[in-house]
């Protein structure tokens, strides 16, 4: 199984299963329609930075609820971003609920066509 970017050993964690069915998640994007750049992990965006949890740094934050994504756009670092819905399927990779119930970390598979899975873009 090949991931979108190289992951450290033991990542994704064993309790982050490959998706069993389709699920809709929301990712904050800079441009509409979104580009590949909107789905780069913290590590991919900052190759020189130190992260204490490399596995988390190579995952993507997404929300299960649109309203939580919208709430996040009130923060200064996320201001101007917009939620866009991505339909995830078993072919999309591993997903784990992390932090608040709606917040998940997604480790996409290399073969998954993210931009082709954009389901809707918030107005």
């Amino acid at each position: 199984m090949s991931f979108r970017e190289p992951l450290p050993e033991g990542c994704p964690p064993a309790d982050a299963p490959i998706l069993a069915s389709e699920v809709m998640v929301y990712r904050l994007v800079r441009t509409l329609p979104p580009t590949e750049e909107d789905f780069r992990s913290q590590r991919a965006e900052n190759p020189e930075k130190y992260f204490s949890n490399e596995c988390l740094a190579r995952g993507l934050s997404v929300h299960a609820l649109r309203r939580d994504s919208e709430m996040a756009t009130k923060l200064p670092n996320l201001k101007g971003r917009q939620p866009c819905a991505v339909r995830l399927s078993p072919a999309s990779g591993h997903l784990k609920q992390t932090g608040k119930p709606s917040h998940h970390t997604w480790w996409p598979l290399a073969s998954f066509d993210i931009l082709g899975s954009i389901s809707e873009v918030a107005a």
Partner: protein, 381 residues
């Protein structure tokens, strides 16, 4: 120059976006990521009153109002790493809050619905996992009272159950995941409200705070404890659940039940992490306790665990059936049971693999656990 250390992450999205900080003298700060640079991040920080911070954690105050709760107070910027592992050196800003270009929009709250229960409210207010226990011994029937010994026993048995539940949860994880966790003291709880109104209620919180994502290690243990209390109205279902958790956890569960039976009390508990939408809770009625104990009493070796030790034989007493092995983790001593393997032929100074049954009994007066290793097989290395 004043510095602030990250204390807890309050909102995470591709890294900590909102967090709590503490300065060297315990002053409370709230911090926000304002710019994610290629080598360092830029953060906005402001000192806040603990009570206002508590309101923000509860979801009843929005972030902008929290930051501007004292419009004349200074605000700061600081450079820091992405995980906030190093202290942030505060750079005081002279302009008024109104000119601060990094303020969040109005309306950012941590929870958009009020807490539906007391334990969830406490978890949010403390930004930590909270467990609430309630017992109803006879002395609590007419007033808010409990025997000191009963309270001590309740806390000891609960803490022991959590310790073994956490051990069981860790065994389900891969070695890599286990290695990545900070497990030190992760199973410990502190009493924070020793006697809350109601039937005798005690409130505890995790001794160790949550991780960067706001999740607490102790939740693993409580999730397993929930399994054991999930169907207490059906002794046979509970027996199945406890048998699936054979070993020290099962033994600790049985000891807690026996303790409740002796003290003629049921048990109710609820727990929550700050991020929960609703608390999780279970109850065991006084009358349900004894049938479960009776059903579990017939199961052989329910509380024993098997383990293997390798090392050099340091001491052997064939007459008393006792031995001591020097393993890589230190000396381990044990016994053989009456029908156990013979110690004849074992040579001091030689290396062996000992297969043992580990038994834990509780010291009656102190409640301390006493561990005994019984040799079941040995082979030379």
């Amino acid at each position: 120059m004043n510095t602030v250390r990250h204390h807890a992450t309050l909102f995470y999205y591709d890294g900590p976006q909102v967090f709590e900080g503490r300065d060297a003298i315990g002053g409370h700060y709230v911090g926000l990521l304002v710019d994610s640079g290629a080598s360092a991040n830029r953060y906005l920080l402001a000192g806040v009153a603990p009570e206002r911070l508590r309101e923000f954690r509860l979801g009843s105050l929005d972030l902008r109002a929290l930051l501007m709760s004292n419009p004349d107070s200074p605000w700061f910027l600081a450079n820091g790493d992405a995980d906030l592992a190093q202290p942030l050196k505060l750079e005081s800003q002279s302009s008024p809050w109104a000119d601060c270009p990094y303020l969040p929009d109005a309306g950012f709250v941590l929870h958009d619905a009020p807490a539906s229960s007391a334990s969830l409210q406490e978890a949010r207010a403390r930004n930590n996992l909270v467990l609430e226990l309630a017992v109803e011994p006879p002395e609590a029937a007419t007033e808010h009272r409990i025997r000191a010994r009963t309270l001590a026993g309740l806390l000891t048995h609960t803490q022991t159950l959590l310790k073994h539940a956490y051990g069981a949860a860790l065994r389900e994880l891969s070695i890599d995941t286990r290695k990545s966790l900070d497990r030190t003291d992760a199973h410990l709880m502190d009493v924070i409200i020793p006697a809350a109104p109601g039937s005798f209620r005690v409130v505890l919180e995790a001794a160790k705070g949550p991780d960067m994502l706001g999740q607490n290690e102790l939740a693993r243990a409580l999730t397993i404890v929930d399994e054991l209390f999930a169907s207490t109205s059906s002794p046979s279902d509970t027996v199945t659940r406890v048998k699936n958790r054979r070993g020290h956890l099962a033994a600790a569960y049985v000891r807690l039940l026996k303790f409740l039976a002796v003290n003629r009390s049921g048990l109710r508990y609820s727990w929550a992490e700050p991020s929960f939408a609703v608390e999780r809770h279970h109850a065991l009625a006084d009358k349900e306790t004894q049938p479960i104990i009776d059903a579990l009493s017939g199961i052989a070796n329910l509380g024993s665990e098997s383990l293997q030790l390798t090392g050099e034989l340091d001491k052997v007493d064939r007459q008393n059936g006792s031995w001591r092995l020097l393993t890589a983790d230190g000396a381990e001593a044990g016994k053989t049971k009456e029908n156990g393997p013979s110690l004849e032929g074992l040579k001091i100074g030689s290396s062996y693999r000992f297969t043992c049954e580990e038994d834990i009994q509780e010291h009656e007066s102190s409640g301390r656990e006493v561990r005994t290793l019984y040799l079941t097989a040995h082979e030379p290395l």
